[in-house]
Subunit: 131 residues, 2 copies
DNA sequence: CAGTTATTACGACTAGATTCGTAATTTAAA
DNA sequence: TTTAAATTACGAATCTAGTCGTAATAACTG
């Protein structure tokens, strides 16, 4: 599988990358220091580890960075919504035979709160699809 | 309580492993030859590659195998439903902040067919009795 | 300016995933 | 029984992810 740098096809983030993206979506643009401080609250990860992953994410175009100042400022290249859609489509195709309804059936179980089910119902109602 | 090899927590299947699991769920128990023939229809993967992955999956307890005959017969250790639930829960926690409704919102878009949306509506309706 | 500190760059190392070639083994056939 | 074919076992090679140490660089302080 060739890695063509010119073909900027959106890469699927790895687990560590997704962790950092979640932080960036929450914080907005941030320096490595800020991101590391944030991630350190829950994990014991070295500063240079976070830096390295952000550099790789930059090569993959998962993040953009502002190099104006000494401390580069990183930001997610794509919106949380866009990335979530991409991830869920990937899972639907690889584990649910392309069936969205099958996925929803598996997603909802006894641990799903009544509030969440209500939210889903409202979403369905708002979809006035013509039959 | 010590870690018992027979009670190892099922690991998350990798992508290649998920491909083989999909085949096993569809075909039922099968030999390496049968599995390879099936996978060869869409990919050009060597016989020993499939064999090796199945052996690793066996070590991980993702599959069970019957060694009675010369050609071992492999079968998925867990049901498709169980594995799907596990995968979707993993994604919900890592990319959707634990919110099932958020996932469902992202899963449904313009490419979702009216039939699928209808299936989801019926699922929601069947849940209504429980509340 | 010199020394300290903060940050980035570079590369090494481990672990897991994926690939497949070759050897060993078993079964079947001639 | 000897040969051929099919299958499993083993291990090497490559690739990606994740980890972090150390060097280089830039900025700040006195």
């Amino acid at each position: 599988m060739a890695t063509d740098k010119s073909a900027v096809k959106p890469t699927k983030p790895t687990e560590a990358e997704l962790t950092l993206l979640n932080i960036l979506w929450q914080m907005g643009p941030a320096t490595v220091r800020q991101i590391h401080d944030h991630v350190s609250a829950t994990q014991k990860t070295g500063y240079t580890t976070v830096l390295k992953i952000l550099q790789i994410m930059h090569e993959k175009a998962l993040v953009i960075r502002d190099e104006t100042n000494r401390a580069h400022v990183y930001a997610a290249a794509n919106s949380e919504m866009h990335t979530q859609s991409s991830l869920i489509k990937d899972l639907i195709s690889k584990a649910f035979g392309g069936s969205t309804s099958k996925l929803v059936m598996r997603a909802i179980d006894e641990s799903t709160s009544a509030e969440e089910i209500d939210d889903i119902r409202q979403l369905l109602n708002s979809l006035e699809k013509e039959f």
